[in-house]
Structures are given as structure tokens and as C-alpha cells.
């Protein structure tokens, strides 16, 4: 870790920041789930991707603006190497106060009555933080999960944590950009990327289904990218 090539890498500086930020935040974090989360070190960035513990996460929300809109449901499933167990999966609807809009219900299929039977935001976020400790978060289109989780933590704890992420959309985009051929942005949708990699049809809009679908997509992407087995966490981190 003392080699000069490493210190010259801007990506690495940024990533070193992750661990540094974690340690810094740990000092001020309130007692509880957030503190517990921050007390577990993140995986070393030079770890082979096959050995990294990953948590595939998906949120359903009332909209795209984390300040205005609300988190509706959270789904996640942990996995490692090319394997995951459905017995480890989690899905929970949140009993947010917001009134659901019809146009939105069509997408996520969560109705007001289901929502009212949901659990409190604190309980769900704490379940997520507990599962995420020591793992890397995997999402498709990171902005939503990143902003909504940050916002939720501000509301609950008055501060936001750092969390390393992998984004399957970004991985696919990097690949397409390298080809230097124009492409339709819709090609980057979860459904379309899965189709291209011969994964089964995926249509559901449910946080858990999407989390599983994203994990499968990542496995397929790694099957192509990591043929030589040399891919490390650094190569795929956001």
C-alpha cells in the first residue's frame, strides 16, 4: 500500500476517503444502528470481486426527488461469488404518511391499504443498515438508493453515513461507451440489459424482485468481465 502508483490514482484517493470518512463519522455517530453500521470496516478495494460480500438493494419510492418524495418499500438480498439464497432475502413496505398518487401506484403496485399495514421507516432503515454492515451495496441506477437512504438517515439520525456502491447500470454504460458506437439509453434499463445477457424475462416492479434481478445481472456481467478471475472490487466500484 506504500507504492507510489497507488497514491497517484485519483480513484484510490477517493476510495481511501470512504474508509477515512467512515472512521471520522463513527466518532460522531449516535448510539444504535448507524453507529453499529459504521463500526464495521468496508471490504478492501483490492479484494477479488469473487470474495466480496455484496448486498443487492432496491427501493420503491413515490417519486424521484429524495427531498420531496418518500420511500415506499425496501428489498434486498445478500450474495457472494455467484450465489445467493432466497432464505436471506428481505422485503418490507414502509407506512409513510404520504398519500399515494394513482400514476405511481401503477408502477410499484403498492396500494394505500398495503402501505398502512407497513412498518415504520426507522425499523426498515435499521434492518438495511444491519444487513449492509461490512458489505458493498449493489444497485441498478445508484442515484435513487443513494439519495433516499442519505435523506432517510438525515431524518432519523441527523447525519448520513458513507457506503460504497456498485451500479450495474454504470458497469453496462462503461462497456457501451468503450465501443464508441451510439446507443439508445433505453438499452441500459434493467430489463433490457438482462435480456441481452440471456437472463429470464423480468417485468415485476417490486423492490425484492428488482434486487434479485439486479444481483443476477451483476453475476452475468461478472461472468463476461471477470473471465481471468482478476477483477477486484476497485474495478467495479462506482
Amino acid at each position: 500500500m506504500t507504492s507510489s502508483t497507488i497514491t497517484h490514482s485519483p480513484l484510490l484517493n477517493w476510495l481511501m476517503g470512504y474508509e477515512a470518512q467512515r472512521k471520522r463519522l463513527l466518532k460522531t455517530a449516535p448510539e444504535g444502528a448507524l453507529r453499529d453500521f459504521l463500526s464495521v470496516p468496508f471490504p478492501d478495494i483490492h479484494t477479488s470481486i469473487e470474495k466480496v460480500d455484496i448486498l443487492s438493494v432496491d427501493f420503491e419510492t413515490t417519486g424521484l426527488d429524495a427531498k420531496k418524495d418518500k420511500l415506499l418499500s425496501v428489498g434486498f438480498i445478500p450474495f457472494k461469488r455467484q450465489q445467493m439464497s432466497l432464505s436471506d432475502c428481505y422485503h418490507q413496505i414502509i407506512n409513510t404518511q404520504a398519500q399515494l398518487e394513482e400514476s405511481n401506484v401503477i408502477i410499484h403496485h403498492i396500494t394505500d391499504s398495503q402501505k398502512d399495514r407497513g412498518k415504520a421507516l426507522r425499523i426498515v432503515v435499521e434492518a438495511l443498515l444491519t444487513a449492509l454492515a461490512g458489505k458493498v451495496m449493489l444497485v441498478h441506477f445508484a442515484r435513487i438508493e443513494k439519495q433516499f437512504l442519505t435523506q432517510a438517515c438525515y431524518e432519523l439520525y441527523g447525519m448520513a453515513p458513507v457506503f460504497p456502491m456498485i451500479d450495474t447500470l454504470v458497469l453496462a454504460k462503461r462497456r457501451l461507451d468503450k465501443r464508441d458506437v451510439s446507443y439508445d439509453p433505453s438499452e441500459l434499463r434493467l430489463t433490457n440489459l438482462r435480456h441481452k445477457l440471456q437472463l429470464p424475462e423480468h417485468n415485476a416492479h417490486n423492490a425484492l424482485n428488482d434486487a434479485i434481478a439486479t444481483a443476477e445481472l451483476f453475476m452475468a456481467q461478472m461472468s463476461k468481465k471477470n473471465r481471468d478471475g482478476k477483477t477486484t472490487l476497485k474495478d467495479v466500484l462506482l
Binding site: Q82, S85, L86, H91, H109, P200, A204, N206, A220
Partner: protein
């Protein structure tokens, strides 16, 4: 919530045997799944998964190879891999397979212990995986036979066709002893109890045993003490199937039949099950009355319809084959009678012989004609002119009735197959003693020979000599076996294709060549090796059961396999005939369900194992 894991659930419940799982157990099973992504060329099980598991291929393709490197099966989407389901591979008959991926694969799996636990509440699941091919096929055929009984003509027949009338009845004031005496006298096990002309209950011999003798009730007590009061009845307008359903649901064997609310008769389970169609018999008698080839030709147009009808009634292919063969025989006989009338009586005794499928009574509508003539040795030069005329008349007649001329010229019109008894003796001797390829080809047709018309002793004597010879001639049997074993059933299916032994794919399965014919050949070998004179395949197998050639359980398995192939063939042909197409034996995997494909694979396995056993015999 409903949509949680919905896609995975939908996929799992499309695969037998999980398609029969109740919803809550399915949800539980899905929660226990593990998902793996394997790259092309990786081995199953994935690293670190040492416990016994069932693998379900979600996407991709895999090959299963035997320890010797021979392709055993290829798996596609939705196929199950149970090669690692049993933790200890001590089962001598199931050697461990090598499974590798041919493409990148998304694979679901579940621990065997989870399925076994599930099986405690839903036994058909664990049975499915603990049974071997033969056992699975047996359960399937048992169910098919049960269904055939239920769904046959009963649906289309009124209960009025079955009931017995008048009903044995007894006055409500009579004693239990009097009821028992009346049952004895009239030979009934069930009486309807009457009070002022209207039925008020029913009493069976079982009631006497259970409610009187067993409880110590005096036999002098009134029958009203032990009768069943709220008895079920069925209106005469209902069909027989409904009657059977009521009896099955209520576990009763007798059901009073009413008309406008009045008791008119009684129907029993036995009455319903003994019912059989008599279509073939009706048609035979019409054929017998026909006076010209033209009339016969018109009647023959009904044959495909008969085959459709038999298939619709859920008849087994054995039943269909026997019915159609009986009708072909009726046509042949009537044509011979017409020829004898036209050309005068035969100069010497003779017999008209059917060969191949007709002799085995396994013919389906409008197959080829295979026939021959055996003539008494007293025939003189010049007599053949009459037999030649007979042969042409009958063969032409059969052809105009839709039985096409045999492409191999195995017909009585061919002088080679129109010979006196002594020549037939010499033919068979030569075929058995010096088995050339052509001789073996001939023997597969001529060892299935039956007299259709004429002097039965002519063929009987030839056959007797022949069987004496074949029983002793291991060389001949060995050659015949080698020849017959050339036809191998395919391995199974891969996606919507038939997978052959060499790993190549075919769009359709030739049911006859790759399934039915190999069984027919095996049965013939057993018969010739054991000196069995029967020609029908099932009869041959039944008679060979328990001989050195074939164990009893293998015989049962082979009959199950043969019967299942027969059902598919009959259903396939019925569909074609209904569409007005000509019937063939080429089944597309798309035509059949996933479960039927599994059963077919099981049938192939049974056939293959008996072929292998035969092969190692020599």
C-alpha cells in the same frame, strides 16, 4: 405481498411435480431456493455446495455425462437435474453423473432435506424424486388406467343404461334377521327400505355387520335401527359418470336411481366398471354382410373415425390395435369369401396368413398390408393359378379399402410368399440355421404370423417346428438380438427437440421406430428364445415374464413403457385424423406436456436398460 418473488414462483410452479403444490407450500419452497450463476464449462455442483440438492435450470444449457463420458441427457430451461439429489451414491444402478454447463447458466437449487420435509406434508413431491424411471412410469400407468375407467363411455351414457330393475326392497317393519334372509335368498347385498311405498332408507350387508353384529344388537330388532336414512339417490337423467363420482365421493357401492322422485332401480359400481364399447363388433358384422368390393370400400372409410372414437373413449393402444386388427381381419375374410365365390372352391386346403402388425393385433387405421399364403403339400402343378387369382383379388381389394400394398412385396401376390407347407418349413430352417441380414429382416416379419382364414393346422405345424429350432439356436437368437438392438430409443429431450444418443437433435420423435418397434423386437426375441407361440407383443412379454429371458418386474416395466408409448401414438394419430390429415408416427415434443416428456424419458430408460441386458446376454 402477492408480487413478492412472483416471477420465481411462476417459474417453479410450471415445472412438474411442483405444479401440483398448494400455494402456501410453493411459497415456502421458493423461500428455500438458492440461485447460482455458472459460467459456460463449469461443473455441477457449484463450489462449496456439497449437500444433496435438486437443481433446476432457469436459463442456459447443461450436459450430463456418464462416468464413461457417454452423453446421458442435455438439460434446458425448466429441466430438473437430480444427479446430486441422493447424498450417498451407493445405489448400484445409478452411477454418479458428470454435469457441466454448455452455456452460462442461471440455476436454482433446493436442498434434498427441504424437499423431503415438504414431502411429509405433500407426498407426491418426495415420491417423484425417490422413485426410479420404472416406478414413476408405473404410477403414471396406474393413474392412466384408472382415468380410462372413469372417462370412457361413462360420460356419454345415461345412468338409465346401467341400472338394475326392479330394486330389491324390504318393508321398514321387518327385522334385521328377515333382511339378512332376504339378501341370502335374492343374492343381493343391499336392500331399499320402504315405508308406505316410498323409500326411506337403505340397508346393506355391511350395516348388519357393523351396526348389529358388532354392537351386539339383537337380530330381532327392526331394520330401522341400522338402516342408513339419508340415502343418496341419482336421477335417471344423469350420466353414468356422475353416478360413479357420487359413489366415489361417498364411499358407497350402491346408488338408488329415481325417476320423477320415484325409485326405479339401483346402480352399482361393478355395473359401471364392467361397461365396454362394442363398436368394433358392430362394424365387423356390417363387413360380413357386404356383397361387393365397392361396399367394403365404403365401409372402410369409417375406419379412421373408429380409431378417433376409440382414442376419445380413452382406450389403450392395445384395445385400439386389437379392434382395428379385428376389422382388417373381417375385411380380409370377406374378400376371400368373395373370391371363393367368384373363382370356385380352392383346389387344396390352404390358409391366408397375416404378418407383422396385423398378426400381432397391433394395427392402426390404414397401415400396410403384410400377408402370405400357406398351401397344403398335396397341391399339384397348375393349382397355383387359382391361388394367384385369389391373392390378387384379396390384395387389390384390401388396397381399395385403404390398406396400401406392402412396399417390401410381402404379400400373397408375390409367388415367393405363396408356397406349400414344405417350402415354408425350409424357409424357416434356412433363416434360423444361416442367419444372413436378409434372413433376419424376413424373420422380423414372418416370425409374427397368424392365420386369418383357412386351415389353421398348416401354420401351426410350421410354427411348432420353428419354435423348437429357435429355442435351441442361440446363434440365431444372438444375431436377431444384435439386429434388433440397432434401434435405440433417444435419450430424451432438449428444449423443444428430441435428443439422440449421439447428442444430435431432431425436431420430431418417431414413436414407432424409436419406441414401439424396439419393444416389439424385444418381445419377439423373448418369444423365440423361450419357445412362446404368442405373437401379440403384450402377450409375449407376459408369457416371457419369469423365464430366464425376462424377470417378472422387468416385464411389468416394459409393458408400462409400451402402453405409454401406445397412448401417445393413439392420441397423436387421433388428433391428425380429426384434422383430416393422414396419421403418422412423428410426434413433435411441442405437442406434449412437460410431464409427458418426463414419462417418455422414463419409458426410454426402461427400454434401453432391457436392450442393454439383452446385449450383455450374448
Amino acid at each position: 405481498m402477492d408480487t413478492e418473488l412472483s416471477e420465481i414462483s411462476t417459474f417453479i410452479c410450471s415445472i412438474p411435480p411442483f405444479d401440483s403444490l398448494p400455494k402456501h407450500l410453493l411459497a415456502q419452497l421458493v423461500r428455500e431456493l438458492t440461485i447460482n450463476y455458472l459460467r459456460k464449462g463449469e461443473q455441477l455442483p457449484p463450489k462449496g455446495m456439497t449437500e444433496a440438492r435438486l437443481y433446476i435450470l432457469r436459463k442456459g444449457a447443461m450436459s450430463c455425462l456418464s462416468a464413461e463420458g457417454e452423453l446421458v441427457s442435455r438439460l434446458g430451461e425448466g429441466d430438473l437435474c437430480d444427479a446430486f439429489y441422493h447424498s450417498n451414491h451407493n445405489n448400484s444402478d445409478e452411477k454418479r453423473l458428470n454435469v457441466h454447463t454448455d452455456e452460462d447458466c442461471l440455476i436454482y437449487s433446493v436442498e434434498a432435506s427441504v424437499l423431503q420435509e415438504l414431502g411429509e406434508r405433500f407426498p407426491s413431491i418426495s415420491d417423484y424424486f425417490s422413485q426410479n424411471s420404472a416406478q414413476r412410469l408405473k404410477s403414471k400407468m396406474t393413474k392412466v388406467n384408472e382415468d380410462a375407467i372413469l372417462s370412457s363411455t361413462l360420460m356419454n351414457t345415461s345412468v338409465g343404461n346401467f341400472y338394475q330393475s326392479p330394486v330389491a326392497s324390504i318393508d321398514v317393519n321387518k327385522t334385521i334377521q328377515q333382511a339378512a334372509m332376504q339378501m341370502n335368498e335374492q343374492g343381493y347385498s343391499c336392500l331399499v327400505v320402504i315405508e308406505q311405498d316410498s323409500p326411506v332408507g337403505i340397508i346393506t350387508d355391511k350395516d348388519i355387520r357393523r351396526r348389529c353384529v358388532a354392537t351386539g344388537l339383537a337380530t330381532s330388532a327392526s331394520i330401522s335401527n341400522i338402516m342408513t336414512q339419508d340415502m343418496c339417490t341419482i336421477d335417471i337423467k344423469n350420466n353414468a359418470y356422475d353416478a360413479l363420482m357420487i359413489m366415489t365421493a361417498k364411499h358407497i357401492h350402491h346408488l338408488p336411481v329415481t325417476k320423477y322422485g320415484n325409485l326405479v332401480g339401483m346402480v352399482t359400481v361393478t355395473d359401471l366398471i364392467n361397461n365396454e364399447g362394442h363398436n368394433a363388433i358392430n362394424l365387423s358384422s356390417v363387413i360380413h354382410k357386404a356383397n361387393s368390393v365397392k361396399e367394403l370400400t365404403e365401409i372402410s372409410m369409417l375406419l379412421p373415425k373408429l380409431q378417433i372414437r376409440l382414442a376419445k373413449l380413452g382406450s389403450s393402444s392395445d384395445h385400439v390395435g386389437k379392434s382395428i386388427s379385428a376389422i382388417t381381419m373381417a375385411f380380409t375374410k370377406r374378400l376371400i369369401e368373395m373370391a371363393e365365390f367368384k373363382y370356385g372352391p380352392a383346389p387344396v386346403p390352404y390358409a391366408w396368413l397375416a404378418a407383422g402388425s396385423q398378426a400381432r393385433q397391433e394395427q392402426l387405421a390404414h397401415s400396410d398390408q403384410d400377408n402370405a399364403l400357406i398351401i397344403c403339400d398335396t397341391m399339384k402343378t397348375g393349382d397355383d393359378v387359382w391361388f394367384e387369382k385369389l391373392a390378387h383379388f384379396v390384395c387389390d381389394g384390401l388396397a381399395s379399402c385403404g390398406f396400401i400394398y406392402c412396399p417390401g412385396e410381402i404379400m400373397a401376390t408375390n409367388v415367393k410368399w405363396r408356397q406349400p407347407q414344405k417350402v415354408w418349413h425350409s424357409y424357416f430352417s434356412k433363416w434360423v440355421d444361416t442367419p444372413s441380414p436378409q434372413a433376419l429382416l424376413n424373420s422380423s416379419v414372418f416370425f409374427d404370423l397368424e392365420t386369418i382364414y383357412g386351415d389353421v393346422s398348416l401354420l401351426r405345424e410350421v410354427k411348432k417346428e420353428l419354435l423348437k429350432k429357435t429355442k435351441k439356436s442361440t446363434l440365431f437368437i444372438a444375431h436377431l438380438s444384435k439386429n434388433a438392438l440397432g434401434l435405440r430409443p433417444p435419450l430424451g429431450f432438449f428444449r423443444d427437440f428430441v435428443l439422440k444418443q449421439n447428442g444430435k437433435h431432431r425436431a420430431t420423435l418417431d414413436l414407432k421406430r424409436n419406441g414401439i418397434a424396439p419393444v416389439v423386437d424385444l418381445a419377439r426375441i423373448y418369444a423365440l428364445a423361450e419357445g412362446i407361440s404368442a405373437v401379440n407383443t403384450i402377450e409375449r412379454i407376459q408369457q416371457a415374464a419369469g423365464t430366464p429371458s425376462l424377470t417378472k418386474s422387468s416385464a411389468e416395466n416394459l409393458i408400462d413403457a409400451y402402453a405409454f408409448l401406445g397412448i401417445l401414438r393413439v392420441e397423436h394419430q387421433a388428433k391428425q385424423l380429426m384434422r383430416g390429415e393422414s396419421a403418422d408416427n412423428f410426434l413433435s415434443p411441442k405437442e406434449i406436456s412437460k410431464l409427458e416428456r418426463e414419462h417418455l424419458k422414463d419409458a426410454f430408460k426402461v427400454i434401453k436398460s432391457l436392450q442393454d441386458a439383452r446385449q450383455s446376454n450374448y
